[in-house]
C-alpha cells in the first residue's frame, strides 16, 4: 500500500498539472505569413464543379504556362467539394501550416473571410495589373472590402427568367415585360394549366427574391459610414417583398410546397417540366439542358417595374484569393493573375460557360454564344451586390431572409412585422461585426 500511495500521488499531480497546462485558453492560430519564398510548391484549392473535367483542363493549361515562366515553382491543384467548402476553408484558416496558398471562394464570403483574417490584401498588385482595368465594376466590388482588394474575380453569375416557349405559345401569351405582368402571367398559366407552377419561386431562394426588392428601389441595407443599417423594412423594399410573396399561393406556387424550396429546387422544377417559368442563372443552363424541357425554353432578362426595364440582378460568382498565411506571396499573386486572367477566363467560358468578369471578354463571349445574351444584358443593366460587410455571411447562414419570406408566405406574419423582425436581426449582426 505504501508503494501505491507513492505512485498515485505524483501521478494524480501529473494529471492535474497536464490539465492546467494545456487548458489555458482555446486555440487561436497565427495566420501571418513567414517570408516570401521565390521557389517551392504552391497549393491551390478550387471548387469541384458538376462535370469538372473541362474546368480541370483549362486550369492545367494555365498552370503549365505559369510553371514554365516561373522556374523552381510547382503548383498542386486540389478540387474541393462545394458542399463542404465552408468547413474546409475555415479549417485552412485555423491551421495555416496545412493551408493552401490560393483558394477559390464564393464572392458573398469575401468580407467574412477578410474579417477572419484569412485573405491577403493585394490592392497594390491589383492596381498595377494592366488586365484588371477592364474588370466589370460589380465584379470588382465583390473583391473589395473597405477600399482594399482581396482577390481577383474568376467569373460572375447572374440570374434571368427562363420560360417554356411551348407553353406560352399554346396559351398565346408573350413573355412578360414588367414585374406586374410577370406576376399576372404566372397566375394565368397556373389557372390554364393547374399541373404547372406559373413561376417557380422558393421561400428560401434569397437570390431569386432580391431582384424584386431592388426593382422597386428597395435595398437590403444602407451604408452609414461606419457600418450598415438594414433597409429591408423600408417602404420600397416592402413593396418588393409583397410582390415576391404574392407569387406563393394556390394561384401560382402553393405555399405548402414552395415555402421550403431554394434556388436549386425551383430550377429542378423547371427542368423537369413542372414549372412554366423560373428564375435561373447562366450556371443553371447545363441542368436545364439535361432536363425534360430541352429545346422548349428560352431566356429573357427578369423584367423590372417599368415596362421593358430589367430588374437589377444579384451579381454572384467566384473569386480567387491569396491566403494571408502563404509563404510564397509574390508567386501566389502571379499564379492568381494567370488563373483569373483574360486568356483563362475566355477559355473557361468556352469550357464551362462561366461568364467572364472583364467587359471586353464578356462581349466577345456573347457574340460567340447567343445563349448568354440575356445574362450579359442583365449584367449590363446594372447588377447589384450584397452588403460588403462581414455580417453578411452570418445573416446568410442564419437564414434571416428565408425566415422572413417563409413567415410571410405561411401567413404567420404580415410583410410589415416580418420585415421589421428581419431588419432587427440584420442590425444586430451588423452591430456585432462592427
Amino acid at each position: 500500500m505504501k508503494l501505491s500511495a507513492r505512485i498515485a500521488a505524483p501521478a494524480a499531480a501529473l494529471v492535474l498539472a497536464g490539465l492546467t497546462a494545456t487548458a489555458c485558453a482555446p486555440q487561436t492560430s497565427d495566420t501571418s505569413s513567414e517570408g516570401d519564398k521565390k521557389t517551392g510548391t504552391l497549393r491551390v484549392w478550387l471548387f469541384q464543379e458538376v462535370g469538372n473535367k473541362p474546368k480541370q483542363k483549362v486550369v492545367d493549361a494555365a498552370v503549365a504556362a505559369f510553371e514554365k515562366s516561373h522556374e523552381g515553382a510547382e503548383v498542386e491543384v486540389e478540387y474541393i467539394p462545394v458542399d463542404t467548402r465552408a468547413q474546409r476553408i475555415k479549417a485552412a484558416f485555423n491551421d495555416p501550416k496545412s493551408a493552401p496558398d490560393l483558394i477559390e471562394y464564393g464572392n458573398t464570403d469575401t468580407a467574412g473571410y477578410v474579417k477572419d483574417g484569412g485573405l491577403a490584401d493585394i490592392s497594390k498588385e491589383f492596381a498595377a495589373w494592366d488586365e484588371a482595368k477592364d474588370t466589370d465594376p460589380t465584379a470588382k466590388q465583390s473583391v473589395t472590402v473597405d477600399g482594399s482588394v482581396y482577390g481577383a474575380p474568376l467569373f460572375v453569375g447572374v440570374r434571368a427568367l427562363y420560360y417554356r416557349t411551348d407553353v406560352l405559345d399554346e396559351l398565346g401569351i408573350e413573355p412578360p415585360k414588367s414585374q406586374a405582368e410577370l406576376i399576372s402571367t404566372a397566375k394565368k398559366i397556373h389557372k390554364e394549366k393547374p399541373d404547372l407552377y406559373g413561376l417557380a419561386v422558393g421561400g428560401a431562394y434569397t437570390y431569386g427574391a432580391m431582384p424584386f426588392i431592388w426593382a422597386q428601389g428597395g435595398e437590403l441595407a444602407e451604408e452609414t459610414g461606419v457600418t450598415y443599417r438594414s433597409a429591408i423594412n423600408s417602404a420600397k423594399a416592402r413593396k418588393g417583398i409583397e410582390a415576391y410573396t404574392s407569387l406563393f399561393g394556390d394561384d401560382n406556387c402553393p405555399a405548402a410546397k414552395c415555402a421550403a424550396m431554394g434556388g436549386n429546387a425551383t430550377v429542378t422544377a423547371f427542368a423537369s417540366g413542372k414549372a412554366a417559368m423560373a428564375i435561373g442563372g447562366d450556371f443553371s443552363h447545363a441542368a436545364v439542358e439535361a432536363g425534360a424541357v430541352k429545346g422548349k425554353y428560352a431566356v429573357v432578362p427578369l423584367p423590372g417595374v417599368k415596362e421593358g426595364s430589367i430588374a437589377p440582378a444579384f451579381a454572384g460568382g467566384n473569386n480567387i484569393g491569396v491566403l494571408k498565411s502563404s509563404s510564397h506571396r509574390t508567386l501566389a499573386v502571379d499564379l492568381m493573375k494567370s488563373l483569373t486572367g483574360k486568356k483563362t477566363q475566355a477559355e473557361m467560358f468556352d469550357a464551362m460557360g462561366f461568364l467572364p468578369t472583364y467587359t471586353d471578354v464578356l462581349e466577345s463571349a456573347a457574340e460567340k454564344e447567343p445563349f448568354v445574351g440575356p445574362f450579359v444584358n442583365t449584367l449590363g443593366a446594372g447588377a447589384k451586390f450584397v452588403p460588403a460587410s462581414p455580417a453578411w455571411g452570418q445573416i446568410d447562414a442564419s437564414l434571416v431572409l428565408p425566415t422572413m419570406f417563409q413567415e410571410i408566405v405561411s401567413g404567420r406574419k404580415d410583410v410589415a412585422a416580418a420585415s421589421d423582425d428581419a431588419a432587427k436581426k440584420m442590425d444586430t449582426a451588423f452591430a456585432e461585426a462592427g
Partner: protein, 324 residues
C-alpha cells in the same frame, strides 16, 4: 455491496437447485476496518485519467469558450479573443427564440420518450406471448430499424412522406399534402421516425428483462386470475424497475439531444425555423454562423438541464427505495 454484508449468494437455477444452501460468508483476515484510503483510488486511476481526458477536459473547454467572444475571426487569428463574462448567456436568455426552442424541445422529447417506452414495453410483452416465427419476424424488423443509420432512416422517411412522389400519401389518399409544411405535422412525422428507430432498444432490453423473471411468478399471477395489464403493473414492472430506469434515462438523453432527424427531415429546422430543437439550434448558431461561443453556451445549458433531469429522476427513484 461489500463483503461484510452476509447475504447468502444465490446460485443459478440448475438441477437440484432447491437443495443448494449458501456457502458460509468468507471473512477477511484481521483488521478490516482501517485500511489505506489510497487503494480504491489506485484502482480507479486508469478510469479517472481516461474520464479526465475524454470528458472533463472537453466540458471544461466548452464552459470556458462559453464565457469568451469566440467566432471564426478569433479562431483564425483575425481578432483577439476577449472575455465576455456572462455575455453569451445574457444574449441567449434574452433571445425569445431560445425560449420557444427550449419549450419545443422539452415537449417534443417528452412525447418521444413516452411514445418510445409505451411502444417498446408493449411490444416486449407481445414478444413473450407469440410463437417463434412471428417473434423472429418482429425481432428482425426491430433490429433492422435499430441498425439503420439515423441519416438513412430520415432520408427514407422523408421520401416515403413526400407530397409528390411518396407512397404514403398515395395509400392514404392524401393527395399532395405536405407533411413538413405545418408545424405539428412536421413534428409528428419526426416523432414517428424517432419512435421507429428507438423503440427496438427499449423492446429488446425489456424483453431480456422479462425473460429473466422466474416463470413461476408469472404463472402464479395468471393462476390467481390477473389480467395481462394487471400482471404488467403489479408483477413485471416492479421487477423490471432497474431496467426501466435505465431505458428511461437513456431515452430522455437521446430524445432531448435529437439532431439528425430534425436536421434532415425538416431541412435544418423547418419553415421559418418552426421545428428547431435545442441541438439543431446550437448547431445553427455554433457552426452555420460560426458563433462558437454562443453555441457553447447553448451546450452548457443543455448539459445542465440533462444533468438536472437525470438527478431529479434518480432522486425520485431512490426515494421509492430502489438502489441502483
Amino acid at each position: 455491496m461489500t463483503a461484510d454484508t452476509t447475504t447468502p449468494r444465490k446460485t443459478p437455477v440448475g438441477p437440484g437447485a432447491g437443495g443448494v444452501t449458501a456457502r458460509p460468508p468468507r471473512r477477511r483476515p484481521a483488521s478490516p476496518a482501517r485500511r489505506s484510503g489510497w487503494t480504491p483510488w489506485l484502482y480507479l486511476l486508469p478510469a479517472l485519467v481516461l474520464l479526465g481526458g475524454l470528458l472533463v477536459y472537453p466540458i471544461y473547454q466548452l464552459g470556458l469558450i462559453s464565457f469568451l467572444e469566440y467566432t471564426q475571426a478569433q479562431v483564425s487569428g483575425g481578432e483577439p479573443t476577449t472575455f465576455q463574462g456572462f455575455g453569451n448567456y445574457a444574449t441567449l436568455f434574452g433571445d425569445s427564440q431560445f425560449w420557444q426552442v427550449l419549450l419545443a424541445t422539452v415537449v417534443f422529447a417528452a412525447a418521444c420518450v413516452v411514445a418510445t417506452l409505451v411502444t417498446g414495453c408493449a411490444l416486449a410483452v407481445l414478444l413473450t406471448r407469440i410463437r417463434a416465427v412471428p417473434r423472429l419476424a418482429l425481432m428482425l424488423a426491430a433490429l433492422g430499424a435499430w441498425a439503420t443509420p439515423a441519416i438513412t432512416g430520415s432520408t427514407v422517411w422523408v421520401f416515403l412522406f413526400d407530397p409528390d412522389f411518396g407512397p404514403v400519401n398515395k395509400v392514404l389518399g392524401l393527395g399532395d399534402f405536405s407533411w413538413t409544411y405545418g408545424r405539428w405535422s412536421a413534428f409528428a412525422l419526426v416523432l414517428l421516425e424517432v419512435l421507429w428507430c428507438s423503440f427496438p432498444f427499449v423492446m429488446v432490453t425489456v424483453y431480456a428483462g422479462i425473460r429473466a423473471i422466474p416463470t413461476e411468478v408469472l404463472e402464479a399471477a395468471s393462476l390467481d386470475g390477473a389480467s395481462q395489464w394487471r400482471i404488467w403493473r403489479s408483477v413485471m414492472a416492479p421487477m423490471l424497475r432497474p431496467i426501466l430506469i435505465v431505458v428511461t434515462i437513456q431515452s430522455v438523453i437521446w430524445d432531448f439531444k435529437v439532431f439528425t432527424q430534425i436536421y434532415v427531415m425538416t431541412n435544418g429546422g423547418g419553415i421559418a425555423g418552426q421545428n428547431l430543437v435545442l441541438n439543431v439550434y446550437a448547431y445553427q448558431k455554433a457552426f452555420a454562423s460560426s458563433q462558437y461561443s454562443l453555441g457553447s453556451a447553448i451546450g452548457v445549458v443543455m448539459l445542465v438541464i440533462l444533468l438536472a433531469v437525470t438527478l431529479v429522476y434518480l432522486r425520485l427513484v431512490r426515494r421509492q427505495g430502489e438502489e441502483l
